[in-house]
């Protein structure tokens, strides 16, 4: 009887303590006020434990990263959430897709706003991922031991472009339809070479790529469902997996790249406190058994601050800033939705998404070189850079290495000028086919404005290698040149190309059809 009474009281007490215990078991540590509790806050949390417990002050400087990686991640999260919301109403079937877009636009509560955010976040992600890559390149952050992470980053760039491109078809309007038609034909461009060699019958990688992409010979319902699958399943999964590896590798490779003399460069921080004695007996974090020259082996974690709160405020700030930018753009500007796709009425000009317009400009010279050849050379070049540049000077510094900023500045001028010059030349004088109408296609494929531009850049870069006796100098020049060329070609493709891909000073001069 008595025991039963006690049991009931215990039951009542336990019931009363449910909220407190729930909180305790969820968060385990108390308020993160001591170094110890701050550390457990980080490594005791599944979402945060990818971070190191302490972060170097160099990494926290805005100038080090400009927050571009986090901004890309934030944009990815935004597209993920808004994308899932849009899937409530989107129907991946021709015509129905277009009508569901109209519904999202006009009657779905918050539908138009969310679609606008999705679209702007997607564009923001393309921009930030490119800038993030430029940052990593210019601070020489690809160097050992980060070669592999550089390759993962390149894969993420490709996946990001793929995500954006596959999303382009889904509205099933004229813009989407013809942009994807162009894109699919770029995928088919190896045929230019196989046709010229006369081996398309037996070996047709271009046709296979296009078939795999479209599932048919034209953009139709098969293509739509494939693009939908890629857009909402495959590519996000691949992106998430690659991102996990990418972030994990950041930590395993010793955090962000820092100059060798980073400790001297940072002013002593009045608020920073060392954790350990001057002669540590062990690494401060057993879990992080890292190879090589990690900042944490053999010495105290000088110039580091607890990730909680220093790093997390920085990350949250960048995240919310990205949300703010995307939301603001979404309020100001509506995502486009043209007429329903009509395979019988081509858009003229039919333009690919803006980040492919540089490619489309190259494709206008030679489908194979523009669509496959030059991009492949660029990608291989980018992938090889960490293995060719084994120097050490300038790691972790903007435009670090021989030549430095003056070299980058001159390379930028040359890259822009060469691209503008080549464009101006072909717009004014035409190219081989206009001069010698009978010229074989293989000659055009080999010698066209795109390859000429690439050759100019390559020659300049080789000269830089010799001049500075440094691979890094050549890489800096080449990367800058290509960035400039990409910019010029994209701008020309976006603003100065009209019907039939003719040059126009402004869309106002386009002939009406």
């Amino acid at each position: 009887m008595n025991a039963g009474h006690d049991a009931l009281r215990t039951f009542r007490d336990n019931l009363r303590q449910v909220p407190g215990r729930l909180a305790a078991t969820a968060f385990r540590t108390g308020a993160p006020r001591t170094d110890r509790s701050r550390s457990t806050f980080v490594f005791g949390n599944v979402f945060l434990h990818l971070h190191s417990v302490r972060t170097h002050r160099w990494s926290l400087r805005w100038a080090t990263t400009a927050g571009l990686g986090i901004a890309t991640l934030a944009a990815f999260f935004i597209t993920l959430i808004t994308g899932v919301l849009l899937m409530f109403y989107y129907k991946p079937y021709p015509e129905a897709a277009y009508l569901s877009m109209k519904d999202i636009h006009f009657v779905v509560p918050t539908g138009r706003f969310i679609r606008n955010i999705h679209r702007w976040a997607a564009n923001a992600m393309v921009v930030t991922v490119i800038l993030h890559m430029a940052r990593a390149f210019y601070t020489a952050a690809y160097r050992a031991p980060r070669e592999f992470n550089w390759l993962i980053g390149m894969a993420l760039l490709a996946v990001t472009l793929g995500l954006s491109f596959t999303g382009y078809l889904l509205p099933w309007d004229q813009l989407a339809y013809w942009a994807i038609t162009i894109g699919a034909n770029i995928a088919q461009s190896p045929r230019e070479v196989t046709d010229a060699l006369g081996i398309t019958e037996t070996f047709d990688p271009g046709g296979l790529q296009r078939l795999l992409l479209l599932g048919s010979d034209t953009v139709g319902e098969e293509a739509l469902i494939r693009f939908y699958l890629l857009h909402v399943m495959l590519l996000p999964l691949v992106a998430a997996a690659l991102m996990a590896v990418h972030f994990w590798r950041i930590r395993k490779d010793g955090g962000l790249a820092k100059p060798a003399d980073v400790d001297r460069r940072l002013a002593p921080d009045a608020g920073a406190h060392p954790l350990f004695t001057d002669a540590p007996q062990k690494t401060y974090h057993l879990a992080a058994i890292v190879r090589g020259r990690s900042p944490a082996v053999g010495r105290g974690p000088e110039h580091t601050v607890p990730s909680m709160p220093h790093l997390f405020y920085a990350e949250l700030a960048v995240f919310m800033l990205t949300v703010f930018v995307c939301t603001a753009l979404a309020i100001v500007s509506d995502a486009p939705l043209k007429e329903v796709a009509n395979p019988l009425v081509p858009e003229n000009p039919a333009k690919a998404p803006w980040y492919f317009l540089g490619l489309q400009e190259l494709v206008a010279f030679s489908a194979f070189m523009g669509g496959i050849g030059i991009p492949a050379v660029v990608l291989i070049g980018l992938g090889l850079i960490p293995f060719l540049d084994r120097e050490e000077a300038g790691t972790g510094e903007w435009f670090g290495g021989p030549g430095g900023w003056p070299l980058v500045r001159r390379a930028a001028v040359l890259g822009l000028a060469a691209a503008v010059g080549v464009e101006a030349f072909i717009i004014r004088f035409g190219w081989l086919r206009e001069w010698f109408p009978g010229i074989p296609q293989l000659v055009i494929t080999a010698v066209n404005p795109g390859t000429v531009l690439t050759a100019i850049y390559a020659a300049y870069s080789l000269w830089l290698v010799r001049r500075f006796n440094s691979t890094r100098a050549g890489a800096l020049g080449l990367f800058t040149c290509f960035l400039g060329g990409f910019l010029v070609l994209t701008v020309v493709g976006t603003y100065f190309r009209g019907p039939n891909w003719h040059f126009f000073w402004s869309p106002a001069d386009w002939p009406v059809h």
């Binding site: 109209k102 220093h310 939301t327």
Partner: protein, 553 residues
């Protein structure tokens, strides 16, 4: 630490910014939307209406129209709503609550913003039909069968007016008014009687009724209708299908010869653009550079019909001499060519008759056929057409021509055309003219010219002239107009194989002898100071020479 504080400030600023933007978006969606503001002012029986999106959905017609979100009075059950953008729908057969709005009026039904919904935005290919062209919307489903030529329709309408049927009956919104003496509206509204049909014994019924009635309208207004007029009235009533403007427009279309060059539902020539879906032209893709006035489709059609070559560069369509009424009728009719596939339960009877029983969309008498196929080039009077930039079209109703030409020549010309010129071979069956139509057209031409077929007892080939002398005479007399090799300059070509096969020698001899009044062809047998005179032997030599083209390879 300074950087930590900076990040906190940034986080605070961005978060507050996001919060502000979200509130802005919420206000825009909950307060500022047009339809919300309209509905806030709408009253139904003096009470405010609940503010929510309204729509009419009809999956069979592919309609999901949110128009009723602003035009609440068109929504089912809310017909008596008052306020801005509210008005009662005129009483038509089609209930907007069932058919929606866009099926007839065009526009973008899924949109909820005025500009998008009315379709005046750049990326909507099918803007709303302007009110003046509302009846063009009927063409979405209805193919009005049995519409006569315009002069016939006008004549029928006049008879109907003359018989004063409108004293008691309301037709197309006119007549049948209430009179001060208490009468009026005695008869039913006849605006749709072409659809619903009427009693075959209506005249007898009227007679019986009149014998019994003593009220004033029956005594004063009603008179027995003569048999001939009765037939006219019945035919006129069969065209009253609740779309008088479209029927009139089609009558004009059928009198303007458009089918000579344009195809409509598989009927007509191939020279021009197929018009079957011309009303669906996307104004966003039409070239308005040479079109003065507003950028609407009906303005484009209006200007194009008036001066085709000015609107479409290189157009071979002649500028027909059209009145303003012709132009507005043709514009309305072209706008109405937006025929859409509809499920069987919505397929109207007139269209079913056309689709299943291959019924013509127009009458089959010679006059209507000539009007529909020939007048575009040969003119309503058949006297041909001269227009800038295009070859002259011959005068086919010329009395002298018809006097000389046997029916066989005219019908053979219609049947086989003039290869190499714009006159196509209508007998090939692909243009919608049937074999039995050709004699009807020929007969109408004779009626138009008032010239019966002349009897020719001679065989088709009887001339035996001197070809060499003929060549010299031709060179001197005929080549100036007909061209050195008979290829035709100002005057028609003579070396055309169909002409040379079909025309009899008598036709050639008669034409040269007597000439063709009203054209440049003079009577060469008559002596005149202005042209050489040819003897019968000369004429036969020339004919022999002309004939020689027919045997050359």
């Amino acid at each position: 630490m300074a950087s930590l504080d900076r990040n906190k400030w940034l986080l605070l600023g961005s978060s507050l910014g996001v919060l502000g933007l979200l509130v802005t978006a919420a206000v825009r969606e909950h307060v500022l939307l047009e339809w919300r503001q309209v509905q806030a002012e709408v009253r139904l029986d003096g009470q405010p209406v609940p503010v929510h999106l309204r729509q009419v959905v009809n999956p069979a017609l592919g309609v999901a129209d949110r128009c009723v979100s602003c035009h609440v009075s068109m929504a089912p059950g809310e017909q008596s709503a008052t306020g801005p953008a509210q008005s009662a729908h005129p009483n038509v057969v089609h209930d907007p609550g069932e058919f929606g709005c866009t099926a007839c009026h065009g526009g973008q039904g899924r949109a909820t913003l005025a500009a998008d919904a009315h379709g005046t935005v750049h990326f909507w290919p099918e803007p709303m039909l302007p009110v003046r062209s509302t009846e063009a919307g009927c063409g979405t489903c209805h193919a009005t069968a049995g519409v006569p030529r315009r002069d016939v329709l006008d004549q029928w309408a006049t008879t109907f007016e003359r018989l004063d049927c409108r004293a008691c009956h309301r037709v197309d919104g006119r007549g049948g008014l209430l009179r001060p003496d208490g009468g009026g509206l005695e008869g039913p509204d006849l605006s749709r009687v072409g659809l619903t049909g009427f009693r075959a014994d209506w005249h007898e019924a009227h007679l019986t009724r009149a014998a019994q009635e003593t009220s004033r309208p029956w005594l004063q207004a009603w008179r027995p209708v003569p048999d001939a007029d009765r037939a006219v009235v019945e035919r006129y009533l069969s065209t009253r299908v609740a779309m008088p403007a479209l029927v009139a427009a089609k009558a004009t279309f059928l009198s303007s010869g458009c089918l000579g060059c344009h195809k409509l539902s598989g009927v007509g020539g191939d020279d021009g653009v197929d018009l079957t879906r011309a009303g669906e032209k996307d104004p966003g893709r039409a070239d308005f550079t040479e079109v003065p006035g507003e950028r609407t489709l009906d303005n484009w059609f209006d200007q194009h019909v008036r001066t085709p070559a000015a609107v479409v560069v290189g157009s071979q369509m002649p500028a027909l001499r059209l009145t303003d009424r012709d132009v507005s009728d043709l514009t309305l009719f072209t706008l109405s060519l937006r025929r859409r596939d509809v499920p069987g339960s919505y397929l109207p009877r007139d269209r079913m008759r056309v689709a299943r029983f291959s019924e013509r969309e127009f009458a089959s008498d010679g006059a209507t056929l000539f009007g529909a196929f020939c007048t575009g080039c040969h003119g309503r009077d058949g006297l041909g057409l001269r227009a800038a930039g295009v070859a002259t079209f011959p005068s086919v109703a010329n009395p002298d021509f018809l006097a000389a030409a046997p029916d066989q020549l005219v019908s053979e010309t219609i049947r086989r055309g003039r290869p190499g010129r714009r006159m196509r071979a209508w007998g090939d069956g692909s243009a919608g003219i049937r074999e039995q139509d050709i004699p009807a057209i020929v007969a109408y031409l004779r009626q138009l010219a008032g010239t019966p077929e002349s009897v020719d007892t001679k065989p088709a080939r009887w001339v035996q002239g001197d070809r060499t002398a003929g060549a010299v005479l031709y060179e001197r007399t005929c080549a100036g107009c007909h061209g050195p090799r008979g290829e035709g300059l100002d005057a028609p070509a003579l070396n055309n194989p169909v002409l040379l096969t079909a025309a009899t020698d008598t036709f050639f001899v008669d034409t040269i002898t007597r000439g063709r009044r009203g054209t440049g062809m003079v009577a060469f047998a008559e002596s005149s100071p202005t042209h050489p005179t040819l003897t019968p032997a000369d004429i036969e030599s020339v004919v022999t020479f002309i004939r020689s083209w027919g045997v050359q390879p």
